[in-house]
Symmetry: C2
Subunit: 214 residues, 2 copies
């Protein structure tokens, strides 16, 4: 498969594919001669994954490179590889520990994890980007709605835990092997837009049930 065909089958312009090659998101094709390169089905798969991450998952190009680097790192065990890939994802500004709201949010979230019995998450907290994201988001809300706290979050946490159980069950039904980490990353990244869209649809449904269309 030449560049042109790769482009046609994926719907991505040749210029963009060349850009991805330069950025290291796609491995180079097999060099046939000085001016020709061959690509295969694996390149097509990878390209579709990259596109999905960028367009649907809104992951910046630099992050995609980082995530794929972990996915391809054979020196790591599967779980760790997936964890590394997931931790490379978030794009959160560091919480400003000077800020009082941030410190409050910190305590509140830590207490919440404890109350929920999420011991592993508690242990990972100091390192976890997800934990930091949560602190930032909670601080931002409390800055505007002062009487907002763990009581409001806890039921959501319960639901999200069930969601995570579904995620992992899903993953386990899938064939293991080379594709599995890739599938897991895909699931992790593309599940989120699906969940978000479902959430908004559900809000529309529930709002209409309660208040009609007016």
């Amino acid at each position: 498969m030449r560049l042109a065909e790769l482009s046609e089958r994926s719907g991505v312009s040749t210029a963009t594919i060349k850009y991805y090659l330069r950025e290291g998101l796609l491995p180079p094709g097999r060099q046939v001669n000085a001016r020709t390169a061959e690509y295969d089905e694996e390149h097509l798969r990878r390209l579709r994954l990259v596109r999905a991450m960028i367009q649907v998952g809104r992951v910046p190009v630099a992050k995609v490179r980082e995530v794929l680097g972990h996915v391809d790192d054979d020196s790591l065990g599967r779980t760790i590889r997936l964890g590394a890939a997931m931790w490379a994802l978030p794009q959160v500004p560091e919480p400003d520990e000077e800020d009082e709201d941030v410190r409050d949010a910190h305590e509140e979230v830590a207490a919440l994890l404890h109350r929920l019995g999420w011991e592993n998450a508690e242990r990972l907290a100091p390192l976890s980007p997800a934990y930091r994201s949560l602190v930032v988001a909670v601080a931002a809300i409390r800055r505007i709605v002062h009487d907002w706290g763990a009581e409001q979050i806890a039921p959501y946490a319960e639901l999200m835990h069930r969601t995570a159980v579904l995620d992992l069950d899903n993953m386990e039904t899938h064939p293991s092997g080379a594709e599995r980490v890739e599938f897991a990353v895909l699931g992790a990244i593309l599940n989120e837009p699906v969940l978000q869209a479902l959430h908004r649809l559900a809000q529309e449904e529930e709002t209409a049930r309660r208040y009609g269309f007016e």
Copy 2:
């Protein structure tokens, strides 16, 4: 309150506040004289809301202006105003109806809504940005994981519906009045980062429970 004080109390630079004023995200202050303007607590609230939307919610400036335009539109009923604000949010590329995967995804999602009994969502579907987002995301996943469909999504939809019920319950416990639409928008926008962070934390917790830290 002068610009400088507004800046200090919000932690936003004067240059940025001036930018927001120019962009119409903040109403102009009360003009004291040719070279002085007064701002009040309402400006501070609004500024914090804008910041939260932009920084935590990642809403682009143009969208923030649009959303706030709906929030401030007194000619509309509350439910409609909220709906308009919510619908102004998403940033989804139009699904390409030429694409076969997109058409498949379309059918699949429509069938899913029907099966779930989300009649209102079904009726709103042709117009709803959330519906379009869902179609785009499902199409992107199916392009890579071919045996993926409604059976996988349905349980998530169920959980997201419960989340939406929580959202609206929460909103109803809140005082009505001028603040309520603002609170609803805030909830809608800032809940999503919270949910996302909780989801990722829950994944970490559940992964560690099943597989340990290796």
